[in-house]
Point group: D3
Chain length 243, copies 6
């Protein structure tokens, strides 16, 4: 209880969150999101038509790609384009983003259209995947409004079923905390990313014991914090989209 | 409650589990494990020395690789060696296997030695990653005994901290069930893989809403089944290793 | 003449050969074959249709792929999927398997269907390519019966023209010997793989002087042993397929 | 003379240029540069030590990499990391950036240190390579000051020999113009990129006839505009670095 | 003025140029060109039809590829096929060759046909890209005559708009010289490749300061030499094609 | 017996063979060899030192690489560098060339030196691998003399144990013939490449039934022709090397 976080936050407090909607002039939807010093540029590219394996089923498709600029991190990391292959971590996060955002969408209402989400980390300080998902939802929502305005989806189609946000929780020095910056992340014994809908349901729970295994009580504490954090993120998303 | 599984099992019942220890004559440890029709060959390769980035720290390393034979599945899938790259799913599972098994090991006690776990799916019918982790633990344990016998680790070193097993749980037709075969897996609304220690702690929780988001109650039901299933797997591992 | 082989075999004697037909529940044809400690899982995948370049010619296609599990060998070898390319030796053997099995088939009678043969070495102790070809023939034969039963080929079509088997011969310590295990293989001055039909004709002869060049007399001795060995393998195949 | 540019600029007028120095908190030097709607994030990563082939010669090394975010352009382009290889255009521009910035540096004075320049195009509207070079110089200069402050280079070492900037010129509708946006670039008959030092010397001249060949008079007109444009860019760089 | 070149040439003198037209029996056009000890085999492959993105526009396409035999150079260089990727320099030169030769062609007159130019350096002594372009023009011209004879282009179509040649110029020891062999190339402070039409117009100007930046006067001197050299190369091409 | 070959040769007659020794000015040994219209440029690159796995054993190493220019064939084939991988056929021939030439060399006498053989097919009309091996031997021999002259091998070291040549034989229209051009090669029922020493011993025998299997009598006829052809090639090599 007497535990103090390096940045002075309460254990159940998010870092300062900002979302610059429409940052990119080129994409159908875009958002530059910050979770503290973590900055991710999220764009949504809307294209009529679907991949071949979905053709003729009257349903749409949403998928995602995640990447980091080489100097988003404290030490430069080599470009995956130069290595000639996408690493395991990148693949894993791209798949997570795609799955999470598909849970926001009624594919039938989207019709035979594809939305490609790109999340590029410009600066990394922990929680890049959760910031990416949270920002991507805003870009996704805007791209659907663009599509509606441009008559690619029906005027009254309820394409968005849920809002989606994500937050990390973890156990640091034996205490469960919300929204870990890099400094806490590397010291966490357990690390969990939780993707939820705006009305409090779970989309994805991914918890990993980095050091010691965790017991059922700790698991419950982490899930509780995640519920709190995602509720706050959903509120911020609503505000930003209301402008 | 009146729900019936296609193979007649109770909702909290595992498929028939068999573990053939020492299947391979070449590896320091090996096991051919079956979860029903799913068959995975797990080998543990013990090598003195560690990767360069660990040199001189007095600690060991354990890592894993997962792959499927092309005709392990009902339709032949292309070899990743021929495609020239390892797919996202393969990467993700390889990373999960490595992380899970590292949780079994006291790296200090292992000393500067590396154990490489290979899990090759010979036949796939759902739950290949959980079978892989459960079988790999047996191969890992045997490779450590081999190393002890061959004086690569100290005679009394307590290298194994925990036993490790994994099981899948999911919600099918609204009912939480244990150890899903392929047929149930494709129909599951929610799918969760849970890796645990032999004494009931969590190593990894990965749950995904494939269809509808799941609420807190469903999450608790799934976690409960996973605890049951992993306890049974830990018992079987103990039996096999006692022989 | 007084030469003794490490495993006590006569110079013209095969290792114990076993063929488990139908080992895999998923493939249209399959066989787990052993030549002594060498174990290869062979599957045949039957698909209606042919590659584009064969379209509309009324003829079928058979091709093969060969691979080794990383710990099939005494020291672990890196996965070709991880390296990102298929090595020269693997390519060479895959091509040999495909060519050899095509010689078994009347492509006109097969019709516009493709059979893909996969040979995965689970344990390697010399002669993996010859075991692969010999086992693959059994898988191939079963896949054709499957296709006949499922009306993909005409009921009376004589798709199989020949049976096919392969065996290695070599000169070790100046003596010509049949079916070399790894231990003899590395010491052989000359190494030859011979693929033959069940009625004693040649499909492929590949002989290489590893040490000293070989003269015409030695070549004749090797060819003689290969004829003997393949005749025995053809007999075993007939027995297995008669069950 | 009566020619009007779509954005109302004079033929020898640059687009609005902005340079945000120190945009990234992680890199030793960084700048977010805009040439109109073109935005490039340039970072300079300073590392003690040199590539192996330069070891022990007492000299440093500077190199560059260029890339575009997938949705920097009006239509999304596929990531090069996903394609598995870096395209010809990217290679060409990366090499140009490296060569150009090396011309700014006294390698002896830099000592055995490496500076890696990353230029990532966040939004593209023509002239991305010239904006990249111009912004990269600012990041480079700051990384050298960082190195001086951190004692990686001698306090009085004159590491920077020149300032470096770059601008595009081209012939559109028969008229030579400075700093082409995308809309002019695609219509240009001739397109030239000119890299110069702050004191008016040439580092690189790359001119290409896209449509009709150009004669000596046109070549002279283009070179004249480039001299004007680069002089203005050098002035802006000086201002920004003086802050 | 008192500067002497190692091979005794005047500063504005080309090396001995030879062009063996029709060297290859297989290609529709071919030339083995020498600039001194530099030897490049250029072939032109004519194919009816165009890449998909040009379909139905009534226009043709010309593209180029450049490569070096591994032992064209004084020290053997590794094959790009073995490395698994084409290097930046190769890409850059291939693109230059394609662009340059497209400037020779009226694509409308060529009709929906594709010409692929291959330039393979058999021996390298500086100026390989300029020799490649100059030789490729001869191969290109012959492939068009072949196409005319075989009725792939109309009898009177004026497919060739210009002749194209290329030459290198550079500043060595402060003196501007024409057509640099390897020995001069490595010592050049500035290096420029200039592609021109037979009637003295510019297609491509690529100049790089390798050492010190160059001023406007030096740039003019280099351009002057390039005009002289290309005029001579155009004369030789006319002679060869007149035979 | 009344069979006539398209080019009028007797069944046991080679095509015109020419070997231009020292064709390349850069390599330590080189030969441009023609078997009729097939032309292969063979170079031998001699380097002091051996690959790491051979270090300190006092023995040398010889290896080979084979490739075709894209337009060596009647229809252009795609470059393997562009495809990003070396094909199975190329790998197979490269390995054959390396193995064959290693049989010529006393590795102990060569000492810790490496010779890399490159065989690049400039024009292909059947028998490219046999021409490559035959020409490569001449390049190899010259590189050893170069090494002797440059004191990389001892003055009296007998590095060359054998001369090596290779020839193709095949059965066309039921008749065994020597040295098949492309036209016969595609029609051959059986195709065999035989590598031999100058004193009539075998290094490699690779025979493949392309159509019908071949019997023992045909095999003997092919081997007989190969002996004749290789004897003649060995005579030509001796003549060329005697100059």
């Amino acid at each position: 209880m007497t535990f103090t976080r390096a940045d002075g936050r309460a254990v159940d407090e998010l870092r300062p969150i900002t979302i610059e909607r429409g940052w990119s002039a080129q994409a159908e939807g875009s958002a530059l999101i910050s979770f503290g010093a973590t900055k991710v540029l999220c764009t949504a590219s809307f294209t009529p038509g679907v991949p071949r394996w979905l053709n003729g089923q009257g349903k749409g498709w949403v998928t995602g790609e995640y990447a980091m600029l080489p100097r988003a991190t404290n030490e430069r990391t080599q470009r995956e384009s130069v290595k000639g292959k996408v690493g395991g971590r990148t693949h894993e996060i791209s798949r997570l983003i795609g799955r999470s955002l598909r849970a926001a969408i009624d594919m039938q209402a989207l019709g035979e259209n594809t939305i490609m989400i790109d999340c590029d980390v410009l600066q990394a300080d922990g929680g890049t995947r959760t910031a990416a998902i949270t920002g991507a939802f805003v870009a996704l929502a805007d791209s659907i409004e663009w599509a509606r305005a441009n008559k690619h989806v029906a005027r009254k189609a309820e394409v968005l079923k849920n809002s989606i946000s994500a937050v990390s929780v973890g156990i640091v020095n034996g205490v469960a905390v919300l929204d870990l910056p890099y400094e806490e992340d590397v010291r966490a014994e357990t690390d969990m990313n939780v993707v939820m809908t705006g009305n409090g349901k779970f989309i994805e729970v991914q918890g990993t014991a980095e050091g010691a295994p965790f017991d059922g009580t700790e698991l419950q504490a982490l899930l509780g914090l995640a519920v709190t954090g995602n509720a706050e993120l959903a509120r911020i998303q609503r505000e930003v989209l209301a402008k």
